[in-house]
Symmetry: C2
Subunit: 406 residues, 2 copies
């Protein structure tokens, strides 16, 4: 008898009909002789509705109380899903984060799971129950309700699968799996049967909105096989795991893109030790996430420092950087909010330098100007004008022959 963890996102449980359909899918897994633990998100846009409700009370709602409020969303969907299963004759029980033993730190709005006390879940499984666990939430050492922030329900599911040593963690969502590129941009994009954790991490971080990178990291750390598939049909989905065929490693697996990129360049920076810290420490303190950083080669001890942030953080970042730029004697700060990025991702790229050249040529053939380049072991990213992102993704998909089968 295998133990399967399944996770259903908000769109999969958005109304009563969808909840009943999810219940039927769970029932099939149970009928196949498995033990099943289900992690469920809040219905549809419940979380947004609750945030709006809080905003009618005060502009700056207390973080602890936001978590108390938001956690009711998953508590509602878990109860409804358990009801649906029981009405079909399947033994089921819902458990809140606290009841399921999801212990977190006390960082409200973005708590991290510290450990999972499995006693209640195991005892309910032993009674033959399908166990429905609220995603996205936990409880702190001080018995306060916490929420896990973005990617929280995915993370709950993978962490539970890891703790329970489940055979597989199945993430059911509104897409059918991980594609070689966004199918809305590239009609010939192909669904991948499997992908490695590191590749998925780069795909997830670089704009493929299939599964949150945080959850992929937990999967990698504990080597949990994660299947991403659609909750609306029975197509096979993509298996994210650590045992991708060796030969498949040495090629580009997919193209990721992101349209939410803004760039700041501090022009004419004196090139001396401590300058980077002087700029980036205050940005971090202001809660601004920096993505790519590029520093030009220094000419006569004067350099340009360029970095990218999410568009929504551009104004905040400029407000922090401009006074610093003046105080360190830089010439000026310039920004550009209309950028995007495209990345090619695949294990083994570092050892096969031809990939970068092929990427740059494909972009150049389309007349696409590259503004910044950054790389990791398994990824090459180019930052380009946002209007050219679609062309770039299509050109790269063709250049690396991703439309053909593995």
């Amino acid at each position: 008898m295998a133990l399967i963890v399944q996770k259903y996102g908000g769109t999969s449980v958005a109304d009563a009909e969808k909840i009943k359909s999810v219940a039927r899918r769970i029932a099939r897994t149970k009928d196949a002789g498995n033990q099943v633990v289900v992690v469920v998100s809040a219905m549809g846009d419940t979380t947004d509705a609750l945030m709006s409700l809080a905003a009618t009370i005060t502009e700056h709602p207390d973080m602890r109380e936001i978590d108390v409020l938001l956690s009711t969303g998953e508590q509602q969907s878990m109860a409804l899903l358990a009801m649906a299963l029981k009405s079909m004759g399947y033994p089921a029980i819902s458990l809140s984060g606290a009841q399921a033993g999801i212990r977190t730190d006390a960082t409200y709005r973005r708590a991290r799971i510290k450990q999972i006390d499995l006693r209640r879940i195991v005892s309910e499984l032993e009674k033959g129950n399908i166990v429905i666990v609220a995603g996205f939430q936990g409880i702190s050492e001080g018995e306060d309700i916490t929420t896990l922030g973005r990617g929280g329900s995915d993370t709950t599911a993978v962490a539970l699968a890891a703790s329970l040593k489940a055979e597989e963690c199945q993430i059911y969502t509104d897409v059918e799996g991980v594609y070689t590129a966004d199918p809305r941009l590239v009609p010939e994009a192909r669904k991948l049967d499997e992908i490695g954790y590191d590749e998925m991490l780069e795909m997830a971080s670089y704009g493929a909105r299939v599964m949150h990178p945080r959850a992929v990291e937990v999967g990698e750390l504990f080597n949990v096989p994660v299947l991403v598939a659609s909750s609306f049909n029975d197509n096979p989905g993509t298996l994210i795991h650590g045992e991708v065929a060796m030969e498949a490693g040495n090629k580009v697996r997919g193209i990721a893109h992101d349209l939410d990129v803004a760039k700041i360049t501090v022009v004419g920076v004196p090139d001396r030790p401590g300058i980077a810290a002087a700029i980036f420490v205050p940005l971090a303190d202001a809660g601004i996430s920096i993505d790519t950083i590029v520093q030009n080669a220094s000419i006569e001890n004067i350099t340009d420092l360029t970095f990218t942030v999410a568009r929504s953080q551009l104004d905040g970042a400029m407000a922090v950087v401009e006074p610093i730029a003046r105080s360190i004697g830089a010439r000026e700060c310039v920004s550009d909010a209309r950028l995007g990025k495209v990345s090619i991702i695949g294990i083994g790229m570092q050892n096969a330098p031809g990939y970068a050249a092929r990427m740059f040529r494909a972009l150049s053939d389309k007349g696409i100007n590259i503004q910044l380049i950054s790389t990791s072991e398994i990824r090459i990213t180019c930052i380009i004008d946002e209007n050219r992102v679609k062309d770039a993704v299509r050109a790269l998909h063709r250049a690396f022959e991703l439309e053909t089968n593995d």
Copy 2:
């Protein structure tokens, strides 16, 4: 420094403006130098909306999961109220039934409080916090969420006041207190400054929708002074307590009425031991609450047995009683769903038989026919045609001179 427990019902926290207004009232109590524990119901018709949601999933939702679902209503309002207080600069913290240590039995939908583990509440009060507790909910020994059923939030408040040895439990609601009769029926009805527990219990049980009798019982048992007042103005309200002036005891305090009465008569019942049990045990098993029971004097060992139930339970009761009536050889079962009842209530009535006569004369003067009579130590109730209830309440209010001051 006194400790005050305040309870706000659903209409008092129905929207953001009302929640902020409740927060200001709580702040005033805190500013006056008190420690404050607040019990809050779900906003407006949230509980009904959640029940409807469950009904879209299944006709017969599981009771445990209904409690999981319903408990989110109070969890939302407690979080919003705590946010409102914190945004005004008052330290506050919300606690669910589980967090507040409200331990109940495991009877879903109508759990009873077994004990309250005060550690968390006391610790938060010691930190200077206003403590906002979810009404209507608790947690069982097995760590399952329970709800307390009708009157649950009132009961939470009075039970907390008892456990905390609070100076007073204040129930804020949409009426200004306990009246000598329903002001919608009797314009000259007068608000009582105070009333004894037993009198309130009769008033509450017999149709005065101010406070649930279950909560009054807890108040009496632990001698908690309970103030019932409006959450929408600063008028004084009614104090329910055990120390009503001795002289005030010996008179009628109020007129209660109830329009939700149906009557069943089993006609021609053989008068032998065990007949009453044969009828009423199966009714109890079917979850039907019997109110008044009257058995006529037996003539030739044949009698009529009449009892009343809530109108919504009439069909269910008839379905139980008719086969029994046949099996015990009764002649027939007849029912009447269009009844109401009026009661006069006051301590010391038993020792002053003139009251019953005055009541019957007042009704007879108005041509109102009495169908059944029942009495307790402090109450006389007449069951009459529902169309005459309004006239009866007015006539009795006048007959006992309740419009004049004490």
